[in-house]
Each structure stands twice: as structure tokens, then as C-alpha cells.
Subunit: 257 residues, 2 copies
DNA sequence: AAGTGGTCTAGACCACAGT
DNA sequence: CTGTGGTCTAGACCACTTC
């Protein structure tokens, strides 16, 4: 890519203003970002080398690296040791949703949230069922089965079923937080460090609808999680049904391309 | 937080091995990460200052900063100019879903995907309707209305309605890619740079179910997007219905807490 | 005034890729 | 061997917060 021949309508200063309050690394990051955009997203091209950029813009190589780090964070480029820094392919359709603040959000609105355990029992694996296979349980090994509901001011919002490895010889702890992390840590010997998650849509069964106090066949988010310990061994899994009329995932952000 | 008195079962080297192949900044990042974890997630505490860390671990301040940058990326800490670097509150329930590869995924499976425009017309705003308000259209201004369906090997997967600012005096371009970015760029004068997105669950109406070739009342993902230009002015909005029986969002990753 | 994080430099050595 | 990005240093100055 010839970085010196930009001839699009959108113009910008192709130099670093060292007197500006705006940091040099940020200025350079913006310059490079524009150049990448204006070149109409030619993927596979290489950025000029760090030393070239440092010389051209009269800044140190470390500052150039800081600028490139910004682009790496935005996934615009990928540096490769010994080869160069390559421009990535556009990824507009890659949308990131954050399933956060489910509780915070509710609490901000002044609602009291309670996570109520409605059933908890130790089970013995027969070694054949789907749960045993997913959790790698042998016949006769125990596991914990729990069902819980998340309430906000007495209104049920989420229904949750968990299956967990269970070795501790103590009673199941009362659950006040829906944080699976703490639940697992307190009720098993394991420390969860990784999880796979799948988010689907589902129709509530009549039983589930009853628990969530909505009409049958209401749509819901179904979040299936599989938790692993530090050795990538499964610790437990959970299925959570979030009422579709009360939950949504939001996301906002810049479009990279 | 007293960083020198760690007395948990989990142990680790509380020093930098300068002979290791593992970079010093990475070693320090891991040390700090463990200390944050083991201190049982005390939010609000401050990390030792950069200079203290540099002296304690016998590395330069820049290397300390690189380590802290790792933690910032993981949202474990937040530095504040002039005050210190603060430990964030745990956020286990913050799950990131990437709505990516919808198409790539299909194409990998060898399916041919076609994005077919089934209707497109220019409309005039009456200045009163919901669309006009969301797009800030005055009475009489034109906008583009399109309906499309995404097929994979003749099977409909997604149904999509768009409303876009429309100033160009040229025919609506054929759409081969569902990339809203390119669609907007080619059919309006605007360059989309930001979008708000909301993901909900919905029941398909009988009409929608017919278009998607599924039984009525099938659940679906409803993705609502609102696109903005560089001045944060709305450019267009879209509603996309993804068949719940064919789509899911997946996510995998480390648990921070 | 003292302490903190934010930026920047000029140089060094390394590991890796391509020749 | 040369060129690339990756790491690291020792020091500098700045802006902001706190006292």
C-alpha cells in the first residue's frame, strides 16, 4: 500500500502535531486508521515498518508501537514477528454483545433481586445419561442438581438448572448470588476458570412458564453454560431461561468497516 | 491491600524470573492477577504504585506499565491519573457474545448463501411516524425501505427490513452482501461509523413464518440496529429476524473471577 | 509541594522470517 | 545475513490529585 498517495475526498493532516494536547501515539493511530479505511479496506497489505513510520512522522519507535497497539486492539491490524504488520479483513458483521448488568440494571432501577434455590439434591450418576457424559462422571459418582429462580421484587425473571461436580461433604450452601463462579467455588472443590456458552432462543414449556409466571409458549433466551477448571476438565453445566419479555442484549460501538 | 502477605493454598512465585523466556511484563501481569484473585476480589483497593512495583520486582517502570496494561485490557484494574490504579469489581456475569461468522460459518459448511432483495422502494416521510422520528426525517423527506431474505442453499435463514436515509438519485443497487455497511455506503451519501444494537427474542408472525418457511410462532432472534454517521446522526435502522432453530450465539473464554 | 499515572525518547538486545 | 516486530531500560517531562 502506498501510504503517500491518498486522493480521496476525506482529508486529514498526515503529520503529527507535536504541540497538540492530543498524544502523538493517538494522532498516529488515527492517521493509520484513516489510511486503512480510505484505501478501501485492502486486506493483506502491510503497514510501513515501525522504523519507517518513526522516521516519517518524526517520533520514536516506541511511540509508533503504541499507536499500532491501538489498531491491534481494534483488530484492524495484526503484527507478525519478523514479517510485518498486516491489515485485517473487514469484519462489520462481527457484533459483540455483553451479557452484563443483568442484575446491576435491575438494582439500579431500585428493584430488589433475590436468587432463590427451589431445589437442591445430590444425585448419583448412572454413567450413561447425557449429564454424566458431559461432566465426565463415572457410574456411582455424585453430582449436585439445583434449580433456582431469580426474582426482582417478587417477579420471576430467570429460571436456572445446574448440574455440578459435588465432592464436599457439607450441606449445600444457601445461594444469595447468581454468580456461578462463587456457587461453584463454594460447593465443589473446583475453581472454574473457563466456560463455553451458547445462547439460543426457546419456547417455554408450560411448567417453565408457570415458574416464570408468564403465558405458555412465551419466547425466552436460553443460555447454556459449560464450566471448566484449570485443566479444562468439566466442572458443571447450567441452563438458564431468561424471560424474553424482560431481557435483551444491547451493544453499541464503532463500526470498524 | 498488603501485597506481601499472601497465605492462601494456591502458591506462585512472587518474583520475576529474568532468565525465563516468558516476558517480564507477562510474568508481572500474572502475579498481579493472582494477587487480585486471592485477595478475594476486594474492589476499590489500589495496586502498589508503578514505581513501587518497579523497585520491588527490579524491572523498569515502563515494563510495569506494560503489565498493568494487560490487566486494564482484562478490565481487572482501572488506572486514574494522579490517584492510583484501582481494582475493579468482579464481573463474572459479564459474558461477551460475538455475533460473527453467521455467513462464514454457513459458507464453511459448503452452503451457498444469497441475500435476496424482495422489495425496495423510496418512501416519503410524513414526519410523524416512528421511523421518521428515529431517523430524524422531516415531512416530505425521502427514505429507502427494503426487505430482504438471506438464503443458504434455498433455505431461508433470516428476514430483514431496513429503513435508510436516501438521497441518491440512482436506482437501488442490487444487494449481494448482507453487509449493512456496504449497503448504506452504496445507497446513501453517508458513511456509517457507529451503531446501537439490541438483541431480543421474538415470536414470528404468520407472515414472517411464511417467509422463513417455518411454522408460525417459531421463536427467533430479533436484532434491531440503528446506524449513525460520524456526527452521530442516524442514517438508518434495520430489523433482522434470525430463525431460532438455525442460529445461536456462542462464546467461550476465561472467567476473570 | 509531593505523589501519581500518562507520554515520550534513544538506544539496546532478542527471536523470527525471508533471503 | 538482513529486516522485521517483541521486549526492556533509564531517564525525562507533563497533567492531575491530594495534602
Amino acid at each position: 500500500m502506498d501510504m503517500d498517495n491518498i486522493q480521496y475526498t476525506l482529508t486529514f493532516q498526515d503529520r503529527i502535531d507535536k504541540t497538540s494536547i492530543i498524544p502523538a501515539y493517538y494522532q498516529l493511530a488515527k492517521i493509520l486508521e484513516y489510511k486503512i479505511r480510505l484505501a478501501d479496506f485492502k486486506q493483506g497489505d502491510k503497514l510501513p515498518t515501525e522504523i519507517e513510520l518513526a522516521e516519517k512522522y518524526q517520533i520514536s519507535r516506541m511511540t509508533v508501537r503504541r499507536a499500532i497497539a491501538e489498531l491491534v486492539n481494534k483488530k484492524l491490524v495484526t503484527p507478525q514477528k519478523g514479517r510485518g504488520t498486516f491489515i485485517n479483513k473487514p469484519n462489520i458483521d462481527n457484533i459483540v454483545f455483553e451479557l452484563e448488568g443483568f442484575l446491576e440494571d435491575l438494582e439500579k432501577r431500585g428493584l430488589q433481586t433475590i436468587f432463590k434455590l427451589i431445589e437442591a439434591k445430590a444425585m448419583r450418576s448412572d454413567g450413561e445419561d447425557r449429564i454424566s457424559k458431559k461432566l465426565l462422571l463415572n457410574k456411582g459418582e455424585r453430582y449436585l442438581y439445583t434449580r433456582s429462580i431469580l426474582y426482582a421484587d417478587d417477579e420471576p425473571l430467570m429460571y436456572d438448572v445446574k448440574y455440578l461436580h459435588y465432592y464436599k461433604q457439607k450441606p449445600i450452601l444457601e445461594v444469595s448470588s447468581p454468580s456461578l463462579y462463587h456457587f461453584i467455588r463454594d460447593n465443589t472443590d473446583k475453581m472454574p476458570t473457563k466456560s463455553d456458552r451458547v445462547l439460543k432462543v426457546a419456547l417455554l414449556t408450560s411448567k417453565e412458564a408457570l415458574l416464570l409466571n408468564v403465558p405458555p409458549d412465551t419466547p425466552a433466551f436460553l443460555l447454556e453454560q459449560l464450566f471448566f477448571d484449570e485443566n479444562d476438565l468439566p466442572i458443571g453445566l447450567s441452563k438458564s431461561l431468561y424471560r424474553g419479555d424482560r431481557y435483551k442484549l444491547t451493544s453499541t460501538g464503532k463500526l470498524l468497516f
